[in-house]
Subunit: 103 residues, 2 copies
C-alpha cells in the first residue's frame, strides 16, 4: 500500500472527520453510535467514513445490519511517520522526535 501524502492530508483536513477519528480512536463504534455523538446527519457521517476508509485510516467490521468503525492507529502513525520522512528529514533524529513529541 503506497503512501499518498495528499490523500492522507485531505482525509484528515476536515473538522468533522477529525471528530470522528477522535470518537472511534480507541473503540469500535457503529455508524449510529457515531452519529449520536455528533451534530450532523447519518448520510454525512457515512460520507466522511467513506473518505476515511478510502485513505485506509479506519478498520471496518460488518456485523448483521450494523457496521462498526474504528480508527486504524497503526496506519495513522505510519502516515505521520512518512510525512516526517518527506517534509522533516533533518529533524528526524530520535532526540528531536522526542522533543517534538513533548513540545
Amino acid at each position: 500500500m503506497k503512501f499518498n501524502p495528499v490523500l492522507f492530508a485531505k482525509a484528515i483536513s476536515d473538522e468533522t472527520r477529525q471528530k470522528i477519528m477522535n470518537i472511534c480512536c480507541c473503540e469500535s463504534l457503529s455508524v449510529n453510535e457515531i452519529v449520536d455523538k455528533l451534530s450532523v446527519s447519518q448520510p454525512t457521517v457515512s460520507h466522511h467514513l467513506a473518505i476515511l476508509r478510502e485513505a485506509d485510516l479506519v478498520t471496518v467490521r460488518e456485523e448483521g445490519k450494523q457496521t462498526f468503525y474504528s480508527l486504524n492507529q497503526e496506519n495513522v502513525a505510519i502516515c505521520c511517520g512518512q510525512l516526517m520522512i518527506k517534509f522533516a528529514p533533518e529533524s528526524l533524529t530520535t532526540e528531536k522526535l522526542i522533543k517534538a513529541l513533548n513540545a
Copy 2:
C-alpha cells in the same frame, strides 16, 4: 503557539502546496525561484505561501525586493508528532514509531 490539527492538515492538503514544501524543504528560495520550478502563476504561489506561513510551516526572510522562504522542518516534525499523540496514542512506543518510519 497552540497546535491546531485542522489548520495543519488543511495547510498540507493541497498538491501544489506539498510541491512547494518539497522545493524549499532544504534550502531557502525566493518566490520567483519557486515559481520557476512549478507550472502555476506567481500570485498562486504567493497565495499558497501565505497559507503555509499562516500555519507556521515556513520560515520567511526578507532581503531587499526579494522574500526567501524555506520549510520549517522543526515545526512540521512537531505537528506530525502532535498528530500522532492525538490520533495514534497507542501506537506511540519508540519501537512502533521506528517500525512506522521504516514501513
